[in-house]
Amino acid sequence: MSKATENNLSQTQDQHRDRSGQQNQQQQGRSVAEWVSFGISTAILLAVAGLILFWWLTAPKGPPIIRISPAGDIRQVEEQFYVPFEVKNTGGSAADAIQARAELRINGQVVEQATQSFSFLSRGETEKGAFVFTQDPREGKLTMSITSYKQP
């Protein structure tokens, strides 16, 4: 690559628009930096495409399976009892508008109910929340359930 030719090249901003004339230099003159960045780019792209394919081939198929379970200790603040829970989708596809419900029975009678809804729970995703009661759930029987979901 001749220095003289290079120095004669315009250094203006119009340079990037000039798509003729630079061809030969460009062909020989890709810097190490460009190669390294190209290598990293190719690796990233291949990794992403590979991960998508891997997930496609290995992932379980089928409808959502949603589980609800307590997640931690019941907290009491003033007159309210907070019951933390988590909702997990272990099925093969995502769900939307998941309805979670909790019922507190004391002496066989339903004394309180609480509900919560979650949007977009993808496969394998866990979301957390809490039900809030005014009576101590530890004095009765607390049942948690998922009542419905919507296919996104």
């Binding site: 690559m1 220095k3 290079e6 120095n7 090249l9 250094q11 901003q13 340079q15 990037h16 628009r17 000039d18 798509r19 003729s20 630079q22 061809q23 230099q25 460009q26 062909q27 003159g29 890709r30 810097s31 190490v32 930096a33 460009e34 390294v36 960045s37 190209f38 990293i40 780019s41 190719t42 990233i44 792209l45 992403v48 495409a49 991960l51 998508i52 394919l53 997930w55 496609w56 992932a59 596809s93 995502a94 939307d96 949007s119 977009f120 993808s122 496969r123 394998g124 995703e125 866990t126 996104p152």
Partner: protein, 293 residues
Amino acid sequence: MSSQEQSRNPWMSELDDLMRGASGGFLFSTTLIYTMEVWWTGTYVDPGRMLVALMIAFAVVFMLNRSAGFRRVQNPQFSEDMFETIQALALSLVCTAAFLLLLRRISFETPLQEVLGKVVYESVPFALGVALGNQFLSSGGRRQQQSSGQQSSGQQSSEFILHSTLMDIGATMVGATFIALTIAPTAEIPMLAVAISPPWLLALMIASLVVSYGIVFEAGFANQQKRKQQQGILQRPLSETVAAYLVALIVAAFLLWFFKQLTFDDPWHVWFNLSIVLGFPAAVGGAAGRLAV
């Protein structure tokens, strides 16, 4: 490779190229990164569709690269355009992943397929922005001509400096409003603001500063040289970036108040959270504004 490129450190010029690409991407895709429907689509999209999205992005970016592109030096060769397309896509994937992480749309606990879905879907518009890169802001602005004319005449009066400073602030406000206006009334802003913790909010502020600095001073958009000659008290790159960010934050806060996302009864930290979350698109817009006016 031109003499200008070679006389500089090749690593730096490569970094500049990438920075320019990323700046174009942020300009083009920030509104979609702030759209919850795109996150949701990413949550439940199936892998086949994701691959199709990647391929479409690849094809479109390739075609754009045939005519435009983010590199300063261009070449009509097929292999060269492939080279650029691969880099543009990888850059998009990395930048959108980082940005979604910053906005707490993905975290290290998020299931892999959700991360992939969100990143792939958000990176499609980003990749278009990367490919369009220089085309965005390549038209010469009247302000720069005006200012270089003034400069060549030698002495600058204090009145002129004041005038330039006001024009900078004005351009930042116009640009910030232009991008932030479409995002300010949406439910995404409070949604993002509640999910973001103070350390991440700080990180978002730093990212806003870095990206707006990148757009104006690093990315080498067409008006940048003129930009560096621009007069006024805000003309040190760092002080200009910080001052412009403050302007962007004020614009963001005003727009949020205008659309009733914020009221004067809200505690100060809510004002901070929401304004900083909207401050990113506002800062990106403000940076573009200062180049374009």
